[in-house]
């Protein structure tokens, strides 16, 4: 971890400039009051998350969400700052044939169960997760029920 100046609770605009200066791959799509929305390639997820946690003082990971867009999947992270109520929404796209992304449980312990849930419902594999097992559904399930290809009875 490079120890640059630790910025105490940066504002929306500061987060935007800091993120884009440090990581040119990160694309900040939108900012509004207390919200920053950004997209990034999946190789950078762990590195950017570490930076956000250590240097931008985002101590809390609210959720890790999977979304199935049929041709690709998206993982969305919501990160929260306890000093000024700021929230960053990071989203990263995964190709449908290679659903791997680095786990952020080593950065925020709270992401553990959210990643397990996303794994069991969407089949997205979080590399280096301490315990990537099924949580809500039975361990014998061999399918991923929240994918769009899994139709509910009566829905068609």
């Amino acid at each position: 971890m490079d120890t640059e100046a630790v910025y105490q609770s940066p504002s929306e605009e500061e987060v935007k400039t800091l993120l884009t200066e440090k990581f040119p791959e990160v694309e900040v799509t939108k900012t509004e009051a207390r919200r920053v929305y950004a997209k990034l390639p999946r190789e950078k997820v762990l590195e950017v998350c570490k930076y956000i946690q250590h240097n931008l003082t985002f101590e809390h990971c609210s959720t890790v969400i999977g979304v199935d867009y049929v041709d690709h999947m998206t993982v969305v992270y919501h990160l929260s700052n306890y000093y000024n109520g700021l929230m960053i929404e990071l989203s990263t796209d995964l190709p449908a044939d290679d659903l791997h992304v680095e786990s952020v449980t080593c950065v925020w312990e709270g992401a553990n169960w959210h990643e397990r849930e996303t794994y069991e419902l969407f089949g997205i594999i979080f590399d280096n997760h301490p315990k990537l097992e099924r949580l809500l559904t039975p361990k014998t399930y061999e399918f991923y029920p929240f994918r769009k290809s899994y139709k509910l009875r009566g829905s068609e």
């Binding site: 101590e59 809390h60 306890y82 709270g110 992401a111 169960w113 829905s155």
Partner: protein, 380 residues
């Protein structure tokens, strides 16, 4: 004489003890629902814990993808029976955010009143559960008695006691009924007096206090990192309340304090919830005054389109139990493409290992009572 005896300490050191897994649940008095806690014990001390949830998994989020937007409102009620109003409110807020609309002032204040009544309901339910967990049945009866008055207010406002189905996309279902403001102020005044009896019952009992004080310490950094939110987090010194620091609806226009304690033990988490109930009473009083000032004929609901423009939106709110968040992806039709619910207890219960490590088996119910378990929203 004592020389011939082997010292007790030496025996203890030589004796080999095995660690043992104990399975508490799914039917256990402390679990308050269907879930299992596996704890590993070394003698009397808990060394590891693993919660097992999922018995109640209904695929809520998948079900929501096959329903039009208004039909999800009653479903959101069923996420948690004790916090039905806040979940419905959160869902409506998320859809409003995706639509990009602003709702009438009166609806915002009515939602605040309904939310705070819901918060008191939920906290009283928790207090009753803590009472039974710690062996004081009187607290259970008294807290449930107080809760009935607030459930009556729910009936007066929306006709149902628990699954209220009250907020709507674009406002609330109906205006406050006649004399509702008078009734709610009376109830709140009465409740504040009655609350002191219950507090005395809890705090004057050395058995109850000693089972909570000094048990299950968490530091501020630990607490933020493991994802714990809500009253449990504020008992560990994290000074953060979404109502104050990331306000939604009109919470920035009411004045209230956020109780924070730095002790970080089980007793601090208990104290925070008690204090929050009094703060909720203050918020209700202010919001009722604002509703009165707006007058009888102020609009409380606006018409909204049935189709939500393509894109994504999220909102978060301070649920009675912590931070709840909904993330909505829309594809431009009248049904959501994906609706994700972040339940506070889902993350809070995943921290049981950190909370229980180093405590005694007998303390486990007292510690996990502070999570205020609700399985409907954990398993979804």
């Amino acid at each position: 004489m004592s020389d011939s005896l082997v010292p007790v300490k030496e025996i203890e050191e030589k004796m080999e003890t095995d660690k043992m897994w104990i399975i508490m649940g799914p039917q256990h008095p402390f679990s308050h629902g269907l879930w299992t806690l596996k704890i590993q014990v070394d003698g009397e001390i808990v060394t590891d814990a693993e919660p097992i949830v999922g018995y109640l998994h209904r695929g809520w989020e998948k079900e929501a993808e096959n329903r039009i937007y208004p039909k999800i409102i009653p479903m959101a009620d069923r996420l948690c029976y004790a916090a039905s109003m806040t979940y419905t409110h959160l869902y409506c807020m998320t859809v409003e955010k995706a639509l990009g609309i602003d709702i009438p002032e009166k609806a915002k204040y009515i939602r605040i009143v309904a939310d705070e009544v819901c918060r008191i309901n939920s906290h009283l339910m928790w207090l009753a559960a803590v009472g039974t967990d710690l062996g004081n049945l009187t607290v259970f009866l008294w807290a449930m008695r107080e809760r009935e008055y607030f459930l009556d207010l729910n009936v007066k406002l929306c006709g149902a006691r628990m699954t209220t189905n009250y907020p709507r996309i674009g406002g609330v279902r109906n205006d406050v009924t006649e004399l509702f403001d008078r009734d709610i102020l009376r109830t709140v005044d009465r409740f504040e007096k009655a609350m002191w009896d219950i507090i005395a019952l809890m705090d004057d009992s050395s058995i109850i206090v000693s089972r909570m004080k000094g048990v299950s310490y968490l530091t501020r950094e630990q607490c933020a990192n493991i994802g714990m939110t809500g009253p449990a987090m504020r008992g560990c010194g994290v000074d953060f309340d979404i109502r104050r620091d990331d306000p939604y609806d009109n919470y920035d226009k009411v004045d209230f304090e956020v109780p924070v304690l730095t002790e970080g033990d089980s007793y601090a988490r208990y104290m925070i919830r008690i204090e929050e109930m009094f703060q909720s009473c203050d918020i209700i009083r202010q919001a009722v005054q604002k509703i009165r000032a707006l007058g009888k004929n102020a609009p409380y609901r606006i018409k909204t389109p049935t189709k939500v423009p393509a894109g994504s939106a999220f909102m978060r709110m301070e649920d009675p139990r912590g931070e709840s968040l909904m993330y909505l992806v829309s594809d431009g039709t009248d049904k959501p493409y994906r609706l994700k619910v972040r339940s506070p207890i889902f993350t809070n219960v995943s921290t049981s290992k950190v909370m229980c490590q180093g405590c005694r088996i007998a303390d486990v119910p007292a510690i996990l009572a502070q999570i205020d378990m609700c399985l409907g929203e954990t398993d979804r």
